[in-house]
Assembly symmetry: C2
Homo-oligomer: 253 residues x 2
C-alpha cells in the first residue's frame, strides 16, 4: 500500500499533517487568540493545559527509560531540565511547569487546585494519559515521532501570545512568560526529532508508523480543545466535578 | 477526612453516584432514546460504542491476569465468555461483541470498518484506553469497583431499547438483540462486584478509593457521550479522520 519515501518526501508529508491537522486550526484556538473567549474559558484552557504540561517530563522520562541509545538519552535529557528546571521554587531559571503555573496564577487560579488536576476535564486526563502510554508502548521511532508537533508550535505560540496580549486585559507579558523560552527550545528539539525520523524510518512500514504517530499526537491536542469547547463554549456542557468558572475551587467530596 | 462507613452506607454512596453521575443522565442518551438523534448520530453512537465493547474482554482479562485469588478469577472468567462467545461466527451463542456487530450491521455500517476502529473519535479511544489502564494499574479492589456501573445498566438498557424501537424505523428487535442478554448478566456481575467491595473495602481509605473508582468509570462513559454530542450534535465538530455520516467508509490515508 505505502511506497518508500525519500527523507525529504517524508518530511514534506509530516509538514503537511501539521498544515492540515495541527490544533492551531481548531475553533477554540481561533477564539482564544481572537479575544472571543470568556475569562472562564481562558481559565479552563490554562487549567486543563496544565495537565499536559505536567505530563511532559513523565513522557520524556518514559522515552529515555526505554531507550538503549545513550546519544538519544543524552539529547532527550535536556527536555527534562527544560520542563522541571533546577530548583523547586524556580528561583534561578524556572522550568516550563513552574512557568505554566505563573500563567495559571496570572489568570486568577488557585495554584494548589491547579496542581491537584482534580478540576480538569476527564477528557483532558484521558488524552494526556494516552500520550504517555503511546510513548511507553510504541516503538522508539514512533515515540520520537509523536513529539514532532513541536515543528509547528513556534507559529501557534506567536499567534497565542500576540492575540492574548491584545485582547485580554488580565493577561500580561509576565503571565505569558512561559512562551518566551519555548520557540527556541521547540526548534532545537524538533530539529533533532525530525532528523532522527528522517534517518531511522527506513522502510515504508516505519515511515507509515512515523506519520501515524504524528496524526495520533495531533488527535491528542485536538481532542483537548474539543473537550474545552464542548464544556465551556456556548453549549456549556461542563461535566460533573470539573472546573466551573466563578466557583473555584468547589470540588465535591 | 473520610470516616469509616458500614457496608450498607458504602453501598448507598455507590448507588448515589449512579443516581447523579451515570450516563443515563447525559443529554446525548436522552436524545438517543427520545428519537431525537439523526441516523448519523445513531450510527456514530454504535460505531464508537463498539470500541468500548471490544475493550471489555481485554480489561476483564487484565483483571484476571493480576489477581492472585482463584475464586475471583473463576467468577470473572464468565465475563470473557459473555463477551467473546464460544465460536468465531457466533453460530451457537453469539457473545456480546458479535451481538454488538449485529447492531452496527443493523444500522447500516460496514462491519470491517467498524472493527478497524479507525473511524472512531479519538476521544472514544482515549477514554476506553484509560479504562483498561485503570484496571491494569490500580488495586484489585479499585479494578473491581470500576465495573460497578453495571449496577445501573439494566435501567439504561430498558430506556434505550424501548425508546429506540419506538422512534427509529431502521432499528428492529433483532438489531437490538445485544441488549436482551445483558440485564441478567449485568445483575449477576454487579451483585458479585458489589458484595466484593462491601466485604473488602475495610478502611476509610479503601472505601474512598472504591467510590473514586466508580466516579472514574462514570467519567469514562460520560466523556464518550460528550464527544459524540460535540462531533455529531448540532455544533457538528467532527474531528479529522473520524466517521462522517453519509460518506462511510472514507478514511484518508
Amino acid at each position: 500500500m505505502s511506497t518508500l519515501l525519500t527523507p525529504a518526501e517524508l518530511e514534506a508529508r509530516l509538514r503537511d499533517i501539521g498544515a492540515t491537522r495541527y490544533h492551531n486550526l481548531h475553533p477554540f484556538h481561533r477564539r482564544l487568540h481572537a479575544g472571543q473567549c470568556t475569562k472562564g474559558e481562558v481559565q479552563a484552557w490554562a487549567l486543563n493545559r496544565y495537565c499536559y504540561q505536567a505530563a511532559i517530563p513523565i513522557k520524556d522520562a518514559s522515552l529515555i527509560a526505554r531507550c538503549e541509545d545513550a546519544d538519544v538519552r543524552r539529547e532527550w535529557r535536556r527536555r527534562l531540565a527544560d520542563h522541571d528546571g533546577t530548583q523547586a521554587d524556580g528561583a534561578d531559571a524556572p522550568g516550563g511547569i513552574e512557568r505554566w503555573l505563573r500563567l495559571t496564577d496570572g489568570v486568577g487560579l488557585d495554584r494548589a487546585a491547579v496542581i491537584s488536576q482534580s478540576y480538569a476535564l476527564p477528557a483532558t486526563r484521558f488524552a494526556v494519559q494516552a500520550y504517555i502510554q503511546f510513548v511507553r508502548e510504541r516503538s522508539l521511532l514512533e515515540a520520537i515521532a509523536s513529539s514532532l508537533t513541536e515543528l509547528f508550535s513556534p507559529q501557534i505560540i506567536s499567534e497565542r501570545v500576540s492575540g492574548m496580549l491584545a485582547h485580554y486585559d488580565y493577561v500580561t507579558k509576565d503571565t505569558l512568560a512561559y512562551f518566551d523560552k519555548r520557540p527556541p527550545q521547540a526548534k532545537q528539539d524538533s530539529d533533532y526529532a525530525l532528523a532522527y525520523c528522517r534517518e531511522h524510518a527506513r522502510t515504508a512500514e516505519q515511515q507509515h508508523a512515523v506519520l501515524e504517530a504524528l496524526h495520533f499526537k495531533c488527535d491528542v491536542l485536538w481532542t483537548m480543545l474539543d473537550a474545552l469547547d464542548h464544556a465551556y463554549g456556548e453549549a456549556g456542557h461542563i461535566p460533573p466535578r470539573a472546573f466551573r468558572p466563578g466557583s473555584f475551587p468547589a470540588l465535591n467530596p
